[in-house]
Symmetry: D5
Subunit: 121 residues, 10 copies
C-alpha cells in the first residue's frame, strides 16, 4: 500500500522563508508522537524529527503540532507513517531537501527507527 494523499496535510501552515537567498537547515524534534497499530489496536509512541532546507516557505511550528496530533487515533504502520509524513511535508512546504526520522519505543523487546529522505540521497 503506497501512502495516499492526506486529508491531514491541510492542517500544515507555512510562512515566508526569511532568507530564501541561501541554503540553511531547520530541524524540528517532536518527541510526543502517538498513533495506533492497525494490527493490534494498541497505541504506538515515538519521536519524529524533521530536518529540512527551506525554499520559499517554512513550516509554522504550532500547525506542525496540530497536524501531528491528528494521528493520535489513526491506525497506521511505522513504515507507512514515516513515508506519509514526508509526502505531506513535501507537498505543502516544498523544501529543497527534507529528512524525516521516526524513532519508536520498544514493542516485544524490539525498538525501531525509520528514515526517509527527499530527494533520495
Amino acid at each position: 500500500m503506497n501512502p495516499q494523499p492526506s486529508e491531514f496535510r491541510d492542517l500544515l501552515e507555512v510562512f515566508d522563508n526569511p532568507a530564501p537567498q541561501r541554503n540553511f537547515t531547520i530541524e524540528h524534534h517532536c518527541p510526543e508522537f502517538t498513533s495506533v497499530c492497525p494490527k493490534t489496536g494498541q497505541p504506538d509512541y515515538g519521536t519524529i524529527v524533521f530536518n529540512y532546507v527551506p525554499d520559499q516557505l517554512c513550516v509554522e511550528l504550532k500547525s506542525l503540532k496540530m497536524y501531528l496530533q491528528r494521528f493520535r487515533n489513526e491506525g497506521i504502520f511505522y513504515e507507512a507513517i514515516t513515508n506519509r509524513l514526508l509526502d505531506d511535508f513535501v507537498a505543502v512546504v516544498q523544501p529543497r531537501r527534507l529528512r524525516v526520522e521516526s524513532r519508536w519505543t520498544p514493542r516485544g523487546g524490539l525498538n525501531s527507527n525509520i528514515i526517509v529522505e527527499y530527494p533520495e540521497s
Copy 2:
C-alpha cells in the same frame, strides 16, 4: 565453516513495502538476544541491530522476534551467528542494502562487536 541455509529463516514473515518507489532506511534494535557458546555451553547475551533499505518487502516485527528467539538454546559462535542472521535476512526479505551488527556483553573481561554488510561496502 560457512553459515548454512537456515531452518529458522522460515519463521521470518514479510509485508509489502509501502514506498518501494524510494530508498529509505529501517532499523530494528533487538537488545534481548541470547544464544549458547558451543565451546563452554555457557549462555551469551547481546544486542542485534538490523539496518536495511527495503526493496519490495519489509520484515514483520513480531516474526523477527520469534525468529531471534529460536537461537535461545542454539550453540553458535559470535562470528557465525552474525553472518547467519545476515544470510537469512537477505534470503527472505531481499533488501537493497543490509547491515547487521551484534554487540555482546563481557566475557573474561573482554566484550566484542561484529558487523556484517550486504552488499559489501
Copy 3:
C-alpha cells in the same frame, strides 16, 4: 522578510587575529540566549553556537555577550534570528568561514534547531 542591516551589530568588537597566516577554528557556545516570540509575546530560550575561521579579525568575547543580550526583549522568529546573527557576524568580523547554530528549548512539545553557514556549503 529578509533580515535587515542590524543596529545591534555596532556592539560587536574585534581584535587582530594572532595567526592570520593559517586557517584555524574558533567556537563560542552561548547557552543563555533569550528573545521574545513576536506572535505570542512569550520569551524564547536557546543556545547559540558560533563556529568560524578568522581572517584578519577575531570577535572580542565580552562584546559578543553584550551584543547577544540586546535581543533579550526583541520580538523575532527562530529562523530570522539565526540568519541575522550570521549576517551581523559576517559584516563585522569578516571571517573566512562561519557556521551559526541555534538550539531552542521545547515549545508545545516540540524543540527546534536552525543552522546557517557562510559561505554556503
Copy 4:
C-alpha cells in the same frame, strides 16, 4: 627502539573465519589491560580495542585474554606497546585490515590514546 618479534604472540590462537567470502568487521574491547612503566616502575592501566576485518582466520577470544595478561609485569612504553600489539596480531591472524587503539588512565593529570592501523590508511 622498534617493536621486536614477540615471544608472547605464540599465545594467540586462531580459528577458521566462518565467512571468508565477504569483508566483515570484528571488534574486541579489553578494558583491563595493565603493564609497567619502564621509567618509573609504576603500573599503567588502559583499554585496548582491536578492530579488524578477518581474512582466513579469526582470533580466539580466550587466547587473546591470556596473551594480553602476559604484559602485566612487562616494562614497556605506551607507544611501543600499541605498535607491538599490532605487529603480533598481524603476524598471527593475518587480517585484511586492523586498527589497534590503546586508551590510558591519567598520569600526572594527563591521559593518552594511541592508534595504529594496518595497512596504513
Copy 5:
C-alpha cells in the same frame, strides 16, 4: 600579534619514535591547563588536546606537563595560546601532522574552543 618563538619550548623533551616506519596517531589530553587573561588579570581554565602523527620523535609526557605548567601565571589570550602551543610543538617534535584543541570553561556565560592544525587541512 603573531605568536613569538617561545622560551618555554625548551622544556619539551622528546624520545625516538618506536615505529617511524608507519603513520600512527598519539593523543594527549591535558584537562588541568590554566593561564591568566591579560585583559582582566583573572585566571582562565581549560583542557588542551594534542593529537599528532610522530615522525622521528615523540614528546615525553612528563616534560609536556612541565611545559604546560609554565603558562600558569602567564597573561595570554585563548587564540594566541592555542597557536603558540602548536608552534612550540612543531618546532621541537617535528610531527608529520598535529592538531591542537583548547576547550575553555565558561566566562560571562559563554565558553569557547579553539582548534589549530599543522599542516593546514
Copy 6:
C-alpha cells in the same frame, strides 16, 4: 472536585500474591501515559510509577496497561489523575502500601511531578 469512583477501574485485574506472608515491594513504570488537558484540549504526556506492597493481591500487568490506555482521550488535570489512579488501585488491589508518582513532559517551559501515597506517610 474530589476524584470520583471510576468506571475505568473495572479493567484492573488481579492475581493471588505468591508470598503474602511477607512485606515486599513491586514497582511498575509506565512511561507511555497520555491524557488530554481539559482546559486547552491539548494532549498531555507522562510517566506513571506505581510502587506498592501487596497484601493478598497483585495487579496483573497487561490489565494495568489496558486500564491506563483508557485515559488516552480523557480530559483530566495532572493533580486529579494522580489521585484517581491511587484511588482506583487501592479499591481493586487493596495493597498494604501504595505510592503513585506522575512525571509530565514540559508545557510552557515548565514540567511537573505529582506524588500521592496510601496510607499517608
Copy 7:
C-alpha cells in the same frame, strides 16, 4: 533588606485542590527563569523548583509561568529572589508545606543554589 509584599503575586492564580482530604506532593520545575543582577546590570539565568503539599488550593500552571516571567527585567539578588518566591507562593496558595530551590548558571567560575522551606524544617 527583607523581601517585601510583592505586587507580582497578584498574577498567581489558584484552583481547588482535587484531594484536600490527603497530603500529597506537587513539584513544578521552571528551567527558564531569568532576572537581572542589581549590581552589574547583567542577566542571571536559573532553574526554579517549587515542591509543595497543597491545602485547599493548587497553583495554576500558566499563571505560575506568567508570574515568573515578571522577574525578567527585575534587578534582584539570588538570595532575595528565592525568599520572595517563597513568600509570594505562601501568601497566595497557602500550602501545608513548600520548598523553593533556585539553581543558577555559573558566574565568574562559580555557580550557586539557594533552598528555602516553609514551615522551617
Copy 8:
C-alpha cells in the same frame, strides 16, 4: 501459590566467611538473568541484585551463576521468582540480612522491579 522448596538450590555452593566477627555487606549484580513467562511462553529478561550480610557462610560466585542459569527455560512470574530467589538463598547461605531486587526489561510499554527482604524491615 507460595514459592516452593527449590530443587535448583542444591546448585548453590558456599565458603567460610573470612570475617564472621563483624557485620559487612556483599552485593552481587547479575544483569543476564532470563526466564520464561508462564502465561505467554515468551522470554523475560532482567537484572538480579543480591545484597547481604553474611553470617558463617558466603555464596560462591560461580555456583550463583550456574544456579541462576537454571531458570533460563523455567516458566515463572516476576513476583514468584524474586521470592523464590530469596527463599533459596536464605536456606543455603543463612545470611544475617538479605535483599533481593529484580529489575525487568519493558513488556507492553511497562517495566517492573520487585524487592524482597529478609528479615522483613
Copy 9:
C-alpha cells in the same frame, strides 16, 4: 599543624542576609580551585563546595572568587586547605551552619574528597 588565622580571609566580603528570620540554605560550587602541593611543588586542582545556613550575613560571590584565587600559588595540603577554608568562612560570615567539601583531580591514580562541617554533626 593546625590551620592558622588567615591573612587571606580579609578578602571575604559580606552583605546583610535578606531573610534572617528563617533558616535557609545557600550553596556555592567553585570548580576552578587550584593550589600547589607543598611536598612536590606540583599544582593541585579541585572543586570547592560551600553549603551554609546564613545568620545575619551572606558571603558576597565576587569576593569569594577573589579569596579562592589567593591560594593559586600557595603550598598547602588537601586536609589543611579544607579546614582553613572552613575556619576563614566561619570567622567572617558567622553562619548558623557550614559544610565545606573539596573534591580533587586524580594524582598517582587516586582521587580524594575532604568534608568539614561547622558545628560538628
Copy 10:
C-alpha cells in the same frame, strides 16, 4: 580463613592530622586496584574507596598507592581483601571511623561490591 596481620601494612605512612580538634571526613578513591583470584589464577580488577574520620593521624597518599600496588600479584578473594584492607588501615592510621568499599569488574556476567565498616554501624 580470618584476615591475618599483614606484612604489607608497613608500607602505609601517616602524617599528623591538621585539625584533630574536630571530626571531618576524608575519602580516597583508588580505581586501579588489581589482584589475582586464588582459585583461577586470573587477575581481578576493582576500585577501592576509603572513607574515614581521622583521629591524630592521616594516611599519606603516595604510601597508600604503594601499599595497594603490593596486592598486584597476590592471590586473595574479594571478601578477604576488603576485610584485610580495613584491618591494615585501622592498625596503622587508627581512625575514629572507617568504611572500605571494593567494587569489582564483571566475572562470568556478574559483578560484586563489598563494604566493611569500623566500628560496626
